[in-house]
């Protein structure tokens, strides 16, 4: 309609309201049936695709993992296993616990997001409870400039920032050292990220995404690490 169709014609004869409502109802019902059929028909395949996509992403950042259990870390500090197709309540953070073939916890993966150069950069980062380090991350979605912003997953020097220290404070309420992205060539501590020269904003987004997510999620997970240790 935005291309100039006129929908305000004067018509020679009016259709009676009852007929109009009947037809519209019929068409709406028909459309409803088509939509529900499509939704039901594709539901299994879509869920399966989502599961495969999650597994692939998590296995990439936690390479030792052979199976995954999804959890919500609730705002009140409790953990809850995620059932298929379930959506998060407000304040809950989803994370993935990766287990090796013997059912031992090898790493935790969670999503983080921060504003990059063009738009929000979403990443999936891993965290190893044993060493309290972030061994690596993968990009979930990004609209950063090709050839510049995508250096965060290609640039060898940037990837050398990992493993990155993400140690919790003794009281477990926050990280001991905030993860920070510093200017190229000035990284002095294991919790700092050396930015890529020429892609500073994207590098900073990675640091901020990991820090923001870790600061909230890790304190919630810590009391449960013992129960998480073995695959349920």
């Amino acid at each position: 309609m935005s291309c100039g169709m006129n929908n305000t014609q004067t018509l020679p004869q009016m259709t009676p309201a009852v007929a109009m409502i009947r037809t519209l109802g019929l068409i709406a019902a028909l459309c409803g049936v088509i939509i529900v059929a499509a939704y039901q028909g594709t539901y299994d395949a879509v869920q399966e695709n989502k599961r495969i996509a999650v597994e692939r992403a998590v296995f990439k950042v936690v390479p030792a993992a052979k199976s995954i259990v999804e959890y919500f870390a609730l705002a009140d500090g409790k953990l809850e296993k995620v059932g298929a197709g379930e959506t998060a309540q407000s304040g809950a953070i989803k994370f993935y616990a990766g287990y090796d073939k013997d059912g031992r916890l090898v790493g935790i993966a969670a999503e983080g997001a921060a504003k990059g150069y063009a738009d929000t950069v979403r990443i999936l980062f891993a965290w190893e409870p044993a060493t309290q380090q972030v061994p690596g991350f993968g990009v979930v979605s990004s609209r950063e400039t090709p050839g510049i912003g995508d250096k965060i997953v290609l640039d060898k020097n940037f990837l050398a920032n990992f493993p990155l220290e993400a140690r919790l404070r003794a009281d477990g309420q926050a990280l001991a050292h905030e993860i920070q992205t510093v200017k190229h060539g000035s990284k002095a501590n294991p919790w700092e990220i050396d930015a890529i020269a020429g892609a500073t904003i994207t590098s900073r987004a990675v640091g901020k995404a990991i820090n923001d997510a870790a600061q909230i999620l890790l304190p919630r997970i810590r009391p449960h690490l013992d129960t998480l240790k073995e695959k349920p």
Partner: protein, 219 residues
Amino acid sequence: MSIVMSATTTDRWDEFMEGVWRQNPLFVMVLGLCPALAVTVSAINALSMGLATAFVLTCSALLVSLLRRMIPKEVRIATYIVIIATFVTVVDYLIQAISLALYDALGAFIQLIVVNCMILGRAEAHASKNPPGIAVINALGMSAGFAIGLFALGAVREILGAGTLFGISLFGSGFQPWVVMVLPPGGFFVLGMWLLVFAAWGRWRQRRQARQAEATRHA
């Protein structure tokens, strides 16, 4: 359907080619611009969007044409929109079931097919006035024209902007990609360029026809 049966193959071919060429939705009528520019950063995305739009356009044309005598004139636009939105929802789920990577690449623009004025325009101007057979042929032609247009944009942008076509490197490692082509400005530039090519071609054809007409008159 009887009209289709009695129509000759040439008529049907003409009906089909109408959308592909003379009334190409993208390059001649300049419709459906949002998806044309937003998703054409690569040839594969462009082609997928073309197919998704084709599905919606053809299905909605068929349904509108089947129901054309039933739909009250006063609420026809609303009805068309509901029908189109239905098929867009269907295609949305189909793409999710086929490939999530593709779904993420196309993003909200799959759902925005619903406001592609080309589809509503076809429903209003053609499908509501013609029997199902002809409506579907016309819709297929338009779809093909749109998909070809998207592909032309996507291929040029991918070749120049990334040095690849369908992800296959074309120029080797020495090529410095012209990154702006896969960024928003590149979409506008490439579309402008194609419009220029089509306008020049249309003008050349007109002039040739005029010359031919002149020649026959003299003879």
